[in-house]
């Protein structure tokens, strides 16, 4: 946003995150989305990392009064401040990732991540030998809860007898905590672990790698981005959100037809959400599993699978 006097025809987009964008995950995806908008739409962009609710209003007001057209607020924590700012600045459009409140110019952008983790759960169920799988999260926010519930449901869809462990470390970045939580689950017998972490996710892979090196069979499942290449020796597959694409399409839609008044859902249908097996390990996966995951994916696309959904948006019945 250096050029304040730019002609108003060009799109001006801003991004708010409450964590560092160097996490190679959730926030990094949003930042990549912003840069993608800058490149593809010749937009001028700006980013601010906020730390506390006190800063939310301030950032919205600052961007709105500086003439930004669209503000991506990447987390449900922004929802209340977004509504307040929306009332004060009717011309701005605020997109709240995972937000729960809608108004004419405040639009929740709902990532149906559970569609990906459901598939991941199925894959995990096929791979587990101990019939115990684990989930390690940072903070129990709705997307994390939703992702984990769907993972559980995916596991149970294959084998209702499989035990699913869950742990939260309370911190997205605390690698030591993430590692120990994973180690604790592995030592309880879990042999497939999915995470919902940011920067600390690598510690999960590291912990799995260490037991694999010790001769056990165990897998990790990547999340948010396609993490398959990060630890190709232990990652079974990744539940992917293609955040940049979602941001770009949202911005395009704003330019073409405008957004507002209703939440935007992104899911497997637009290929924003996906589950991808790690090509390095795919020969270990039974054909039946690959087949079943593929079939279920299309069924989900068609809306034929009854997924446990966290109803995020106020007043929403069952949207997609």
């Amino acid at each position: 946003g250096e050029d304040m006097d730019e002609p108003s025809s060009a799109l001006r987009a801003a991004l708010l995150t409450s964590g560092p964008v160097s996490d190679a995950g959730w926030y990094a995806g949003a930042y990549d989305g912003l840069l993608l908008i800058e490149d593809s739409m010749d937009a001028s962009v700006s980013h601010q990392q906020t730390a506390t609710p006190a800063e939310y209003d301030e950032a919205f007001i600052a961007y709105a009064s500086a003439g930004y057209d669209i503000i991506f607020a990447h987390g449900n924590e922004y929802q209340d401040a977004a509504i307040r700012a929306g009332e004060q600045f009717p011309d701005v459009r605020i997109i709240v990732s995972g937000g729960g409140r809608v108004s004419e110019n405040v639009v929740p952008l709902i990532f149906r991540l559970e569609e990906g983790t459901y598939l991941a759960g199925m894959a995990a169920a096929y791979m587990t030998e101990s019939r115990i799988v684990g989930m390690v999260g940072g903070v129990a926010i709705p997307p994390a809860e939703g992702a984990f519930r769907a993972f559980e449901a995916g596991v149970r869809a294959v084998d209702p007898g499989i035990e699913v462990l869950e742990a939260f470390t309370g911190d997205w970045d605390d690698v030591a905590a993430a590692k120990e939580a994973t180690v604790a689950q592995l030592s309880r017998g879990a042999d497939v672990i999915i995470h919902n972490l940011d920067a600390a996710s690598f510690a999960v892979f590291q912990a799995v790698r260490e037991v694999v090196d010790d001769g056990r069979v165990a897998y990790a499942i990547g999340m948010n981005g396609d993490q398959n290449a990060v630890a190709p020796d232990v990652i079974l597959g990744s539940a992917v959100i293609r955040i940049p694409e979602a941001f770009l399409s949202t911005a395009r839609r704003w330019q073409a037809e405008g957004v507002g008044g209703a939440p935007i859902y992104v899911n497997t249908e637009q290929d924003v959400i996906d589950f991808v097996f790690n090509p390095e390990l795919i020969d270990r996966v039974p054909a039946e599993a690959i087949e079943r995951v593929a079939v279920t994916k299309s069924a989900i696309r068609e809306g034929e699978v009854d997924l446990p959904r966290v109803i995020v948006v106020e007043g929403e019945v069952e949207g997609r």
């Binding site: 160097s22 930042y31 309370g170 970045d173 030591a176 905590a177 180690v183 689950q185 920067a199 630890a231």
Partner: protein
Amino acid sequence: MSQVELVLFLESAVRLGIPLALAAMGETLTERSGVINIGLEGSIIAGALGGALGALAFEGAGLGIIAGAMAGLFVALIFAVFAISLGADQIITGTAVTIGGLGMTGAIYQAQFGATGTELSLPTLAPVAIPGLSEIPIVGTAFFAQAPTAYLAYVMAPIAWYVIFRTAWGLELRATGEAPAAAEAAGVRVRRVRFVATLFGGAMAGIAGAHLALAHAGTFAENMSAGKGFIAIAVVVLGRWNPVLVLFAALFFGAASALQFFLQALGFDIAYQIFLALPYVLTLAALAGWVGTSRAPAALALPWEPHR
């Protein structure tokens, strides 16, 4: 808890305790000289990044640890220049150094690995089992099949104890922390002693950070120190400014933290935030039951100006 679980729990406790022990051990010497380095967190995160970059550059975790120590020392040097040479308030200086340390490591990391970061895979410092000792039932692997940095902590504890309580320099150190005016009158170079103790503390914190990156997580992430500097300062108090007790206090805190993950893995259906608070509550309880408390060095946090 079954025996296997107990072993796993102890292993986890030691792993979580070691970085705290390393940082707290250094801080013990620093505080013994009358300096409280709240900037420890900054040294830890610098040590983590320094360790990561060093390990990548020299293609070895061992040299990474040394690089981490250097990075931690450098951060402590900035603290020392302000808090000791300039006589600025130690708490404010420490606060600034922590903010700056966290920021600078983030900035360097982004400059090195791109704004959106990478999942860094680092050369790791593999555990080394000590023949004989590691075969002791139950505690053997927990204590004696750890990364070399753990053995550094074990060895440092008695050495630091010896230095503090049995050497001439240790005597000067304690005198400096208790009564700098008296120490100066006896010919001790108070500010020099404080400088050395603070830099040592920074180097140890740097090793703690490098241990986190290289021996524990195998990666670097922004803010991965996650408040361990503050906990290390609490561990120093719990260990009564005695390096040997500090080692045990760190292991105790490690055990309390390990418990939280263990209980979660055992599937207790309690809000996880309660587990997260557990180590702190247990430490409070331990303190309350820890009869006959000891005092902090009398001149702790007081800037020293020679009387001239």
